[in-house]
Symmetry: C2
Subunit: 466 residues, 2 copies
Amino acid sequence: MTRTESSALAAALQTALPDGAVLIDEAAVERYAHDDAEWADYATPAAVVLATSLDDVVATVRIAAEHDAPVVPRGAGTGLSGGANAMAGAVVLSLERMTRILEVDAAERYAVVEAGVLNDDLRRHVAEHGLWYPPDPASQAISTIGGNVATNAGGLCCVKYGVTRDYVLGMTAVLADGSVARLGRTTAKGVTGYDLTGLLVGSEGTLGIIVDVTLKLRPLAGREDRAIVGWFPSLADAGNAVAAVSAAGIVPAALELIDSTCLRAVADWQEWTLPEGADALLLAKVDEPGGAGEALADQVAALFEDAGGTQVERAFAADEVDRLFLARRLAYPALERLGPVLTEDVCVPRGAVPEMLSRIERIAEEADVVIANIAHAGDGNLHPLIIAPEGDDAAKARAKTAFDRIVDECRALGGTVTGEHGVGILKLAGAAAELSPVALAMHRAIKDALDPRGLLNPGKAFPAGT
Amino acid sequence: MTRTESSALAAALQTALPDGAVLIDEAAVERYAHDDAEWADYATPAAVVLATSLDDVVATVRIAAEHDAPVVPRGAGTGLSGGANAMAGAVVLSLERMTRILEVDAAERYAVVEAGVLNDDLRRHVAEHGLWYPPDPASQAISTIGGNVATNAGGLCCVKYGVTRDYVLGMTAVLADGSVARLGRTTAKGVTGYDLTGLLVGSEGTLGIIVDVTLKLRPLAGREDRAIVGWFPSLADAGNAVAAVSAAGIVPAALELIDSTCLRAVADWQEWTLPEGADALLLAKVDEPGGAGEALADQVAALFEDAGGTQVERAFAADEVDRLFLARRLAYPALERLGPVLTEDVCVPRGAVPEMLSRIERIAEEADVVIANIAHAGDGNLHPLIIAPEGDDAAKARAKTAFDRIVDECRALGGTVTGEHGVGILKLAGAAAELSPVALAMHRAIKDALDPRGLLNPGKAFPAGT
């Protein structure tokens, strides 16, 4: 796209959209050029649209199509795979200003919300109606529901309560031709036609722009949080405890692992003191009420101790449980203070968690990089965080090597290359290795069927090449 | 397809497939011409293939394509919407002989099974490994997993544990061109590419032939069944009790409604005695262990009594709970003894259950037909069973009128035309009313992309016309 073409596109958008909705100044387009995966490629978009209505989204998609420009949808830009990274001449379409909660039906237990509503804001709002929206990505305070749905975000409580997909009953999406698709239902069950709602969940904006979603909710009451904290002398010991909990048939409400690198980063930042000789922390939560919960917490604590856990502690009050889980949520921002972070997101069989952790340690050593580990360990979903000092290109290259080797080892252990962050751009090579040629051909056929000109977030979510 | 063409097709199949795999005698092709929805249209297929391997399925699809013949896949033929009804000249491809359980991984809690495994056989097999496969359509003793997946079957415990879709991690499917798609994963989470597994679930064999599936399982332990039985003087009272349970934020493990017509049919058949003055029965189950379960059962019983329930009783031992639920499972076969049954499957908002039941009663009166009601009431999923005496064409016409009116009323109350049986053929008109033109165009685009010649179960699952 030439500069003249870009200007014509921007002018057309400015004519059609409300005042202030279209940004073209250099600082703005740079700010919206990528999500939180700066390591992935990105380029400068032609314009940024801050939509405030369905009409804005339709107009943007239509005008972009008239100008042959790709559209890159985006929520808060907290993605970690480059799914919202722009290509040159693209229109970045941000839904962050679409923050209305359109409906909460307490009796039927669903909510209809615009894509830009923050996960935490939804959670707080529905709690006032006695309802609960479980999916809780660690970014819940800053990520949007639209982004959560577009990437099928996971989170901490998924191990028991499922991922975003499990809560999406329907949506309004704008397709590549600007038509508006109303998909799904509000009833508890329904099998009318193909599951198009489910197809769009996790499709990273490549099949349609998600404008609002209908979300299934659960009753807020009926759970009692109990936390079990275990410090372990080694990562391997912690991994064995995870495998033991899974093998015992226990489904905790969360089972998170944090290694010493993360812990030290959080402790330094927050001025906390860590116990001596602890190399990894496991945080488990069970939420069965009453005696059943108490018995389950005892069982988890015993398994932690059997696996070599030292200082296995219990917490019951909600405030205390929340405080313990704060360390987990702070791990990523704490590490980002140390330098650019390349975030992995592999998912292996639960029983392979100890082996995968030890392979990651070996890779860190061999590639001479710092790898910190946080993990939704109960799901086998590991987030090795590869850190390279700012401006050290050699270290950055070694980090990329480590990233690729982790993907290979995860595949060798029967895992999947992305557990919850999405393919975006960073995992295109991994996805090409994981998906069979027939499955890839199906992806291309569906993409071509719904977006024949390839204008919606092209090059993301699956490897387009043959 | 002419008789000569049919013969050539049958001969080609017989040459390619093992001895005994291809049936062409009149009795066999008639027996396989339709599923349990005899009211829907069907015609005589050219041949029936009883596949015993993936290779058989591939060969059948390829040969059918060479002869321009449609392929109608089928499990046990227990479907109630005509999804497995044949068209003239079709190849009916039965997976019923593919009954191998290929893998059970107790630690990772998944199983890989061939499509022809009966739901109950899977359940029994995984129980030996301490695992549980929740989805429990009332047909569980006779329906196959492949059919359950192709229709996204529901069941009794879905109200708490979700439907078939929620348990399908992956599958092997044969596509229209005979290629073999390996889809999904075995890990707890995964977002690599589009959710093609989910797209095929509930697609009624129109996008691919499901040959084996990887199913997520739950630990068998940790539940304690408690049943609460309430007899109600009217259907409306029972409906109000359902709405009250939902409004109280209770998620029971089952909440089933059976009306007096069904009860009398079961009682006559099984020589049971019913209480006086009871017009409807509600069967609830809670499965929280210990004190929490006891408290919840008390709460449900109190809500039943408040709503006018008489003889509200409790049962705890598993045998006793099973005995009570037997009446529910026997309702459909008991009614079939009275005459051909036209089965509805509407799903309305839970709060609309009382109103929908009263509209169904009015429709029965106005259309002068007998309508019996069973319902997964806790999901709002109602199964009005319209009965016409054998050979009474006028009654049959009135039954069809009632069927259509129930669909209309369900839509008017914000419901969906099929909760768990699928669109098949019977719900094509309802689906056309429910799905928007844009959603229908998406269906057609996806079908054309994956099956451009329209050979896989054409005319099913969604209205193909414009």
